[in-house]
Amino acid sequence: MDQSTPGDQQSAGPGLALPSNLLKIVGVFASLALTFIGLTAITFIIGRVMPADPVLAIVGDRASQEVYDQVFLQLGLDKPIYIQYFKYLGQLAEGDLGTSIMTAQPVADDILRFFPATLELATVATLLGIFVGIPMGVVAAVHKGRWPDHIVRVIGLIGYSAPIFWLGMVALLVFYARLDWVAGPGRLDVYYDGIVEPKTGVLMIDAAMSGEWEIFRNAFSHLVLPASILGTFALAYIARMTRSFMLDQLSQEYILTARVKGMPERNVIWGHAFRNVLVQLITIIGLTYASLLEGSVLTETVFSWPGIGQYITNSLFNNDMNAVLGGTIVVGICFVGINLLSDLLYRLVDPRVR
């Protein structure tokens, strides 16, 4: 069709196309800024607009009228709503997420303390998903319709369908309470608490850095179960997507070309088809990682894992709105950040969008 030719006009090759690339990156950041504004607008609405009386939520219903009025002015509720929003943005920009009622500390400090635990959990789970899920998906696609495919499909469906909190409970019952193969809830046994200086906040790294191998082993034993449970979900998702991408690529004509060249089948699969799949998987892995950061809420509750999910849940029950919204914003930013990173990585790896 004649209309499809504009692209052809520019088929000059890999020359100097920097300005248009720059434009694309500027576009990515512009959309990032917009997303951020949307994110904060929503948390702002949830925190300041939707509750019937935000002041009451803070001071409680037994406070005197004086205290009430003081907080009312402090919150700037007498000002127009958009000014309140800009003030809110200003505070966020300074890293000020307000003070937690529950811990009486700045929410930002709290989050810094709780976040590494979540990061540790989600990272290990994602790695599990990548290193187990991808080969599973490839094997399933190559053996489509035969038993390896069926096995992968069943594992994937169960990982997809099981409520993660329930799976965690059952796993605790079986592997901790009955079999005693792993350590129980929490990140460490009580008597190891506070020995290692929290440098990174990621316990296993801290322990390794200070040479406390016994603590390292204990931390690992605590991590295995929650990470596997969370990883099951990641694995199911990644395996399933890998399988469908792989099937798609294997039916492409360039695969036939590779076979015509006389290539061994293993190289056709890993050298040609998988290279294309990998490009698509970057986005999927990013999505998985981001969703695990938030999906850990339930796992953390079940395993008493002192991460950000548990922090948000506890704050919620204590009506600690600052902490809830602070946590939401931080997780939201991670979400957006990871997606941005995978988008940029994708642009770097795929020659077609470079």
Binding site: S31, G38, I46, M169, A290, T313, L316, T328
Partner: protein, 302 residues
């Protein structure tokens, strides 16, 4: 027997005689393809039983699942109580049956909110394009970039816990992928020649969107919806588990797990049975969705 053969002939006739026959034939041929897929049929059976059980709940159960029998607390599964009783002596089997209504209620309500919004936003953005597309998709991206469970939690925190608020929160975080899918479909459809042909005929934009674009988006939206049902059920159960969804004594499965949690070690059935119920139903939706995708796969034609 004879009637069956003629019906089959009518459904498979080479030359359909009317529009309705042609439509029935298309549905029937899809059904034949669907029927060959055992996985999908199992999924359909699970969902059909869920609906049947929910509809027949008053006749299946002995109690309304809320009555307390403190003398019969935490009884093991047996002939008296098939799935045992919980910490307040309520029959777990009955509670599971009544809970199926809640699950269906959540799923139906979310679908009713999410699908029309997603379709409308997606098809309009994809077909009209330009700045309309940019604005609508930015909006969609903002919701897409949101951590689903945490946003639902924050919303419930502001609005107060409860089933309706949980549904609202889930709907708010679920519609965006549908808009994305509908837009992607609309984008490929809008450049096809049959759309140009409709424009040449003088069909209005609304007519093209409604009669030409939407029917083609529908199948992938339905597949995605079925697959998403599992996610919706799990999120609702998760909110229930955290105490942010349906409130006790409502027999919502997630809340039941949460309450039964402390009895896990000695009375394992209390939290295990609702867990299995959730697993089976979300498995059913996933199987059905997989099957539907195979049937609707655009590559297989029809």
């Amino acid at each position: 027997m004879l009637a069956e053969i003629t019906l089959r002939n009518w459904l498979l006739a080479e030359i359909p005689q009317s529009k309705s026959q042609a439509r029935c034939q298309r549905v029937y041929i899809s059904w034949l393809a669907f029927r060959r897929n055992p996985v999908a049929v199992i999924g359909l059976l699970i969902i059909a039983s869920l609906v049947a059980v929910a509809a027949l709940a008053p006749w299946i159960t002995a109690s309304d699942g809320l009555e307390l029998h403190l003398s019969e607390r935490l009884q093991a599964p047996g002939s008296e109580h098939w799935f045992g009783t919980d910490e307040l002596g309520r029959d777990i089997f009955d509670r599971i049956i009544w809970g199926s209504r809640i699950t269906l209620y959540i799923v139906a309500l979310v679908s009713i909110i999410v699908v029309p919004i997603g379709l409308l936003v997606g098809t309009v953005a994809g077909y009209i394009g330009g700045w309309v597309d940019t604005v609508l998709m930015r909006l969609t991206d903002i919701f897409l970039a949101f951590p689903r469970l945490i946003l639902a939690m924050a919303l419930v925190a502001a609005l107060g816990p409860g089933l309706e608020n949980a549904v609202l929160a889930i709907a708010l975080t679920t519609w965006s992928p549908f808009a994305r899918i509908a837009r992607a479909e609309a984008l490929t459809i809008r450049n096809s020649e049959f759309i140009l042909a409709a424009q040449v005929q003088g069909v209005s934009t609304a007519g093209i969107l409604l009669r030409h674009v939407t029917p083609l988006c529908l199948s992938s939206v339905i597949v995605r919806l079925t697959l998403d049902m599992a996610g919706i059920i799990l999120t609702a159960a998760g909110l229930g588990f955290l105490g942010l969804g349906a409130q006790p004594p409502t027999p919502e499965w997630g809340a039941m797990i949460s309450l039964g949690r402390q009895y896990l070690i000695d009375q394992w059935w209390v939290p295990t049975v609702p867990g299995i119920a959730i697993l089976v139903v979300s498995l059913g939706f996933n199987l059905l969705g997989d099957g539907l995708r195979d049937v609707f796969d655009p590559k297989s034609g029809g």
